[in-house]
Symmetry: C2
Subunit: 506 residues, 2 copies
């Protein structure tokens, strides 16, 4: 049974003395005929107003139907008001909501906002420890639920819709955020052997976790593979459709952790590993997340001058991950760092300074900077980047060699997230962070978690497919063994100890 939309319009025949079937039973029969299904459940909260609703206007009803066996989680007369749903990308740092007209698929609004749990701690580990304290889980749960409710309210008001029209939500987040969102104790997520409460939350009643919506509204929560591979990645795969492709693809999502999926329509293998903090904001002394005034791209002229662009064209105030990669590539191309990533003093000359006792390269003089201080990258920052890029390359090398494929068999390299939007593949290849793919292979996919959640929101019959993706994934435990360490050591050079692997790098 493939449903094009979660909203099914049916005519409920009026009762008569010769057909005194109950109201809910006539509705169910009409839906079963339309959906060609035997079993069908109607959420209990829809029953009290049902008889009045059926007698209030035309006999045509708009029913929101999700799940297998299908359950009716919304019921509306034919009025001008749209039936709506929301896709939720539940990030550790940022949450994004997208309000969608479930009948037309049209996006009615979108709200990105900071995860309110950041008041407890910016990183997930601080929050997980807080959840372990008295009342901590409830506190974190309330923070995120109230935040989502508040933003949903703003979205619904802007679209001139009451929250009672919100009938279906899809939620994609990492395993820890999923637990906190559902109010499930994450205690064993970060203790050996790293066990989630559930990997398949499935359909949850919005009312049971405090989400303000129609009383019958259901949430589909994307399943996790395990503690370190969450529903956001499953949503990402659903978005890229790499699980349907005849050709081999990679999907990479880079944050503090790098999460990687490799596969095609026959198999999917995934792994996750620490990529190091160099690629996130707040790490280099001038480090920052992508925001106005942050340097996103750096290049070097043949004459050796460094140029940069900032987000929004404002005066520079920091540098984000993609800028750091560009800078390292430029420094390497200009001979200002050696193949170990070490600053070459004689090549840097008047651009050198020291930061906390280590040498640093000045990218933006104090006079040009928005902060009034020079923006510099220290040797420590560069060392950190080298470790990150080596980890990334080693993870990719390990997953491909473990399943026995070579990089040149990969036809598409999906790069998820903000990082994928900003990164210059040329620079990433130059420093050997990613293999020397033909550049056409790269495909930035943006917020693939939100995109996958939206796709399922519009077509809930994909729940089966999302669950199947989850079950198809073979998770590869990245044992940091001697083999891994050897590969890592070799990847710590620019672009790599084995230069032959990077023919395109001059």
């Amino acid at each position: 049974m493939a449903l094009p939309s979660p909203v099914i319009s049916v005519v409920v025949p009026p009762p008569s003395l010769s057909d005194n079937t109950g109201d809910a039973d006539r509705l169910a029969a009409a839906l079963r005929r339309t959906l060609d299904t035997f079993t069908l459940e109607i959420d209990f909260s829809l029953l009290p107003p049902l008889s009045s609703l059926l007698r209030s206007g035309t006999p045509r009803m708009r029913c929101v139907v999700v799940g297998d066996p299908p359950v009716v989680c919304g019921l509306f007369a034919e009025t001008e008001f749209p039936v709506v749903g929301a896709a939720v990308d539940l990030g550790t740092t940022r949450i994004v909501l997208r309000l969608v007209n479930l009948e037309t698929g049209e996006t009615l609004g979108e709200r990105p906002f900071d995860n309110p749990q950041a008041t407890v701690g910016p990183d997930i580990l601080t929050r997980l420890h807080h959840a372990d304290t008295e009342g901590g889980l409830d506190h974190l749960h309330r923070l995120v639920i109230e935040g989502v409710n508040h933003q949903l309210d703003i979205l619904c008001r802007s679209a001139n819709i009451g929250p009672g029209h919100l009938s279906f939500l899809t939620v994609a987040g990492n395993t820890a955020m999923t637990h906190l969102f559902l109010g499930l104790p994450p205690k064993h997520l970060f203790r050996e052997p790293y066990i989630p409460v559930t990997n398949r939350p499935g359909l949850v009643n919005a009312r049971d976790i405090g989400i303000t919506a129609s009383p019958a509204a259901k949430l589909y929560v994307f399943p996790n593979v395990g503690s370190y591979f969450g529903g956001d990645l499953i949503a990402g795969i659903l978005h890229t459709k790499m699980h349907e492709s005849e050709e081999l693809s990679l999907l990479v999502d880079i944050g503090t952790n790098a999460e990687v999926v490799l596969g095609d329509r026959d198999w999917l293998t995934a792994c996750a590993g620490a990529a190091g903090p160099a690629l996130e904001g707040g790490v280099t002394r001038m480090g920052a997340a992508a925001a106005p005034g942050v340097i996103d791209h750096v290049s070097v002229t043949p004459g050796g001058d460094f140029t940069y662009t900032t987000i929004g064209g404002e005066a520079p105030r920091g540098i984000c991950g993609s800028g750091v990669i560009d800078l390292a590539a430029a420094l390497f191309a200009a001979g200002k760092i050696d193949i170990r990533g070490k600053l070459v003093p004689e090549a840097c000359k008047d651009r050198l300074t020291t930061l906390s006792g280590v040498s640093a390269f000045i990218l933006v003089p104090a006079a040009e900077s928005a902060t009034g201080e020079a923006l510099a990258v220290s040797q420590a920052d560069l060392d950190s980047l080298i470790r990150s890029k080596a980890a990334m390359y080693t993870i990719l090398e390990t997953i491909t060699s473990t399943v026995g494929v070579t990089f040149d068999e990969i036809s598409t390299f999906h790069v998820a997230g903000t990082f994928g939007v900003f990164i210059d593949p040329e620079s990433a290849v130059t420093i050997g962070m990613i293999p020397d793919f033909p550049r056409s292979v790269f495909r930035p996919v943006g917020n693939s978690s939100l995109a996958g959640a939206t796709r399922l929101l519009k077509t809930p019959s994909l729940i089966k497919e999302a669950n199947r993706i989850r079950d198809r994934i073979t998770y590869l435990e990245l044992n940091v063994n001697q083999d891994f360490m050897n590969r890592f050591s070799a990847a710590k050079f620019l672009p790599h100890t084995d230069r032959k692997r990077f023919p395109s790098v001059g």
Copy 2:
């Protein structure tokens, strides 16, 4: 999948680095293996405490599993506390709760109590009208739910069990009571064409209607056939097993309405009709429901003396339905009423008095009565009884003749309720209220609604069977046409115009 009990004991294997399946997923896998089922749902409210519970003692868990597809609605470690459920007979006048140990099937306690909605009105129609007023439905809903919660609390306390151990309830009531219990507006039940909100409430979350139990507890609410044939009768059929029998049976439940089911394992036909008020308490001037001091049996000696017994042997204060039938049979046998049921003045002599201007027969002189007043049955009371008995007989004649069977093909005549326990078949046949069956055919089945609800409580796989019974029933609309009226007129004689139908009546 046949479950002998709703409580399934499974060992949940502990997690390890080589099996880091989520806690809920390991539990579900263990249950799926035991139940040999593919799909299984765990109520969401069981998830937050799950991880602690699995790590708190032995890996053996007691799971309460009901429904198809099965849903886990209770989860307990192995402790000394029993897992309990409750069967509810939801009568208009009386409600009976039975607390049952779901593991052993043992009854832990029982509480009959007056339906608290009686404060609104003793009869269902007054309540249905009240439900139609502002706040009325909520009021009636709260009355019954609070009453049930209060009595459940008493039962649980007596059994030394916390309400959190209550995981499964079964509820059997007539269609109107079922609506009020679930908080569903009964507005269209008593308006043409008499449409229930739902005939198949199925499994409902106890929390959704305010029942105090485990947060995951489910209620199975017996389905209705229509507005005039409710889940109490379906439970009754399930109890008698007449739907499995090779031989033809009748099930009769008599109150203000007489509800009748006729059939065997191949077919079931039902009808319901007004039996008149004569058989319930409060109708004859001395009328009363069965209670201590109420006359339940009357007989006449060959010498013409009337003797009686009272419930509990106390001084007489009234007469219940079975006593009225006995009295009419005795009056008829003694020649004190004629074949039309009219008092014969010369035969009654000194036992005659007048009540509100009509003649009446004194059964208990004032000196013997607990009230200090004579207990008498007036001609008006007798006329009312004659109409009731004629209606009962006509309903039985109509249902059998409509499906083309004769009374002597019926091998068992189940008589439900208190009425069935007290009634003397000899008297009922003497006045022609029921056909002249061999007396061995009569089988009083007591509170068959409670018994059926208890049977399903202990064996929830019978949900399918209860639903199937409901779907198998052909409901016969008793059109009061000329044919019916002719039969009714003929049945208004004692025992019947056609004496040949009652060969055993002298």
